[in-house]
Amino acid sequence: MQRRQTPKQPLQVHRKKQTDLSAWRKGGRIDPEKSVQNHQSPNNQKNDSKQDSLEQALSYFEKVQDRVSLKKNNVLQKHLTTVESIALQRGLPPEGFDVLLNVALSGKLSDTVNTRLLKSLIPASVIPETSVVSSVSWLCVSKCSSNIQLLFLRWLITVFDFIDHKERLHALYGFFFSFLQDEKMCPYVCHLLYLLTRKENVKPFRIRRLLDLQAKMGMQSHLQALLSLYKLFCPELVTITLPGKTKTYFKDSEGPWKATINTVRQRKQENSLVSQPLFLGTAQPQSRKRKWNTQLIIPASSTNKNNLEEDREKQRVDFYGTNESFPVEQLQTFSQLLQNIHHLEFPSQMGSVLTNPLLLHYMNCIKDESIYLRLYYWMGQTLQEECTWYVADNKQYEEFKDFLETVYKAECFLQEGFSSCEEFLYKSLPLWDGFCCRSQILRLVSWIPLSSFSEMKSHLYDPLAQLFFTSSLYFKCSVLESLKELLQNWLNWHIIHLDSESDSQAHSLNTTLSGLVNVVAELIDFVGWISTVALRLENNPTFLLYFILDFYETVCDMYLRYNLPLLIMPPAGVFYPALLSMDSVSLNQLCYIMYRYRTNLVAAKENELSKKKILQFKFSSQTYQEYNQYIIAMVGCLWTSSAFQKDIHPQGLCMDDELLKKTTVQEFKTSFNIVYHPAMMGYAVLFLQQAWPDDTTFNFSLIKGKKWNWYLEYLYAQGLKGLKVFIESSINRVSQASHSKAGNMQA
């Protein structure tokens, strides 16, 4: 038997929302196959072992001899349990049905076993027609008991839609019809025939037979159903009048399988990339009655049935001359997508792609404006219709939240923002209370596409700033976080775009790059401004500082990591609170950021010098000047204890000696070096305790000379990696023996 793999998940987007571009840049391209495999966790190994035991069970049932007793046979018990548990959990693969139906209907085993086998026939994907046809032949030879026959028919009715083809099954119409004479089977056979009947099956002799049966058994609803279908097809042949309305023709049509089939299907979808139920058919009942034209219910993917004959003629021309299009309902696995990608058609309602990762993949490969336009209209209308910021109805609120979540996930998957979503944000942000669906809205902000600043300012920055200044600390941090992601998404987009620049025809590098640089600069300036104000408003909390510095960790590396010729220093309102912070985390972060600024600036300078031709973009001398001012202040504070004299930044710490004396602080010069700095003093105390365990006077002046170096090593060992790279790069240590003074201030 062929080993069938469970559908591979092409990209683990739900775990890692963004592709790791940094890795991709540093180490060349990651082999996509490999990275997928790396992501496949123990979960898959577990699946593999299950797969093995299922195969063993199936091969056992294939070879099983007559009349094995369940009670005495442990092997049978084991395999039966395996089949049952796997079926309940994820359904059976198509190859399993042939084996299991054969054994269950052949009468080899006891009815208890047969019943259990039939009950576990839950399809994972499809049921091969061949297995159904061969089981009908078992039915004709009556090897199994009538109970098993009935159970089989009920199963067949329940899973009818899962059978992959039905042509050969249709050929057996006569056989099924003959089963009508069995009184017990009659209702189920009627139901099955109702599902199978086509116009050509309606024959006078069959109508006569049904009428005879009705005369014999009385008005039975199942017979009526079949008769009314016959009448619908051939009204001239069926002349009797049938009662007009019957609520249910067939009782108990769902059997013991329906619920399990639904759970298996749901579980499968939860594991799939975008974890949102696909509203396929009736599997997912609507939570409540809605207005017909509210579209929050994401439509099911279904083939466009609008293709009339004439349209088909037209369509034959495109799609590489293949005339059959692959129905989206059947698209289940990634390999199916690859095999049918040349003749796949989008569903009739584009909104359904949101919950279908395979179609999102497909959408990514297709350059067709109409696809995006259809999605644009649908999403735009849905967002507007459903967005009521002050909804009283809690249920609707939850649904809207889920919808935003789904949109966000699809954006992450596509690595691209939807323009309808962007417009929705522009329209609704000025009205937003900053509370309703907060995390969803802010995450959607991070996918706003690049556009010219005039628009961003009035549509995004102004309303966001208003909310930002008037909301809680936590909200401020969330905004900074999402603006950092916005910046990263733009930069990622830029780097990908740079790569494909050669084959894009529309944009000249010049306009794109200068435009991009301006827009990115505006965003960074905006964040610099709100950060400065927020630090003052909130009185420099470490928590807020962390989010601000986190933003600048991206900013300081734009040149090297994202190949963008732009570096912007943090404003003094951010730099000095971080430098004088009470917390070593902020100070360490600032050190790391300054180190990266230096690396980027040095690289840019070298590039500038080595390339003779005039570069389009050069960092202004102001950037270098600002960097130098900051570095002088930092080295003066942390290392040379000369900050108050040497700081030359206009908003810096430079202070008159006379003024400093008035503070009556002794040794004010050293008060911000790595020993006395309020963020570092804790380390210094611990260091003293370890170095001089008997000394309880906390004589910090002992840390000098050789001890200074030990202290540095101690700090590095405590995890202050940012401090380490900063000192190693920016401070020129003349002599290892004595604590040196000079700092290399030229980048």
Partner: protein, 334 residues
């Protein structure tokens, strides 16, 4: 990408990230209403239009919807669409029972084109959908009764439709008359088949006052009925509506003193007109109508309710009213 004209886009060139953003710059996005409107073409030019074909649209209440462009709709297939829609209706009505496409069913669907209902040749011809019932007892040729009708139209919506790719048909305004259950079935079918979205089109008080002013200025031959404005008073435990009826000739006389340029109306003129009416009312009843909400406007031309319900009364002004409604529908879609 190929079909996009780079010039309509916002700069800088943003490539794939903004696909789908085809029309409208900043204005389109925020949906500002225009500060002035041109009046629809004068009635005489419409006299030659065969008004017989549109008279059945008059004196009925139409519920308004906006509809996004229909994908792959073709008016050469109207008969086929009618067949499919009729099967869809039958299937919806008798859930769970098999239905054959094309056989005679209880409800007959007719889809036809109304070529007269458009502003210019660049507009798509209006599409009419009618459902009629046959009583099962009577023979086939007995009279069919129209139980529901709805129509899609676009009057001078060409600015919008010209920016939409070929595969799409722009009929942004949909009007329905009849049981909502049928609107729901027909609407769902169109949504499923042509991937479009229907949304109720409410009329804001501002737009209602535009209608009041525009329709006051129109000439009507016969002795016209009174102009009536209905206001609702907000924040009351019991709903309270104020009806304000004005003799049409008085209203016309007032409007003539307000309007400066014939053929064009500005927001300022509309405001002045309404303020005059309000101050007159205040003089008599000491009630400031500007603090209430305008909910309904009825004139001899048409009557409109803020919930998005309209009744046309004069066939020669039909396209004029539809032009304004098309504009409102488009601004809701964009």
């Amino acid at each position: 990408m190929e079909s996009v004209d780079g010039a309509v886009r916002t700069l800088p060139s943003i490539g794939r990230l903004s696909r789908g953003l085809l029309f409208g710059g900043v204005h389109g996005r925020v949906g500002l209403s225009p500060s002035s409107r041109l009046l629809p073409p004068a009635p005489p030019s419409q006299e030659n239009v065969d008004s017989q074909k549109t008279t059945f649209l008059l004196r009925k209440q139409w519920t308004l919807y906006s509809v996004t462009p229909l994908y792959r709709f073709s008016d050469t297939h109207l008969k086929d669409y009618a067949r499919l829609l009729s099967a869809f209706i039958a299937a919806e009505k008798q859930k769970g029972l098999a239905v054959e496409i094309g056989v005679e069913l209880g409800i007959k669907v007719a889809i036809s084109s109304l070529p007269d209902l458009r502003g210019s040749d660049r507009d798509q011809a209006a599409i009419l959908v009618q459902l009629s019932s046959r009583s099962p007892a009577s023979p086939k040729n007995s009279e069919e009764k129209v139980i529901w009708s709805g129509w899609f139209c676009s009057v001078s919506g060409d600015d919008f439709s010209e920016n939409v790719p070929e595969d799409f048909t722009c009929l942004p305004l949909f009007l329905a008359n009849g049981a909502e259950s049928y609107t729901s079935i027909v609407g769902s079918w169109f949504q499923k088949t042509f991937d479009c979205c229907f949304r109720r089109l409410a009329i804001s008080p501002l737009n209602l006052s535009w209608m009041a002013a525009m329709w006051t200025g129109c000439k009507v031959d016969k002795t016209a009925s009174a102009m009536e404005l209905v206001f609702s008073v907000p924040h009351l435990p019991q709903p309270l509506d104020i009806s304000y009826a004005i003799h049409p000739e008085d209203a016309k006389a007032l409007w003539d003193t307000v309007q400066k340029t014939p053929g064009e109306i500005t927001q300022e003129e509309v405001d002045v007109f309404m303020d005059c009416l309000y101050s007159h009312f205040h003089r008599h009843f000491k009630i400031r109508l500007s603090a209430t909400k305008l909910v309904k406007v009825s004139t001899a031309i048409a009557s409109a309710h803020c919930d998005g319900i309209i009744k046309f009364l004069q066939s020669q002004y039909l396209t004029g009213v539809l032009m304004l409604l098309t504009e409102l529908a488009i601004s809701q879609i964009q």
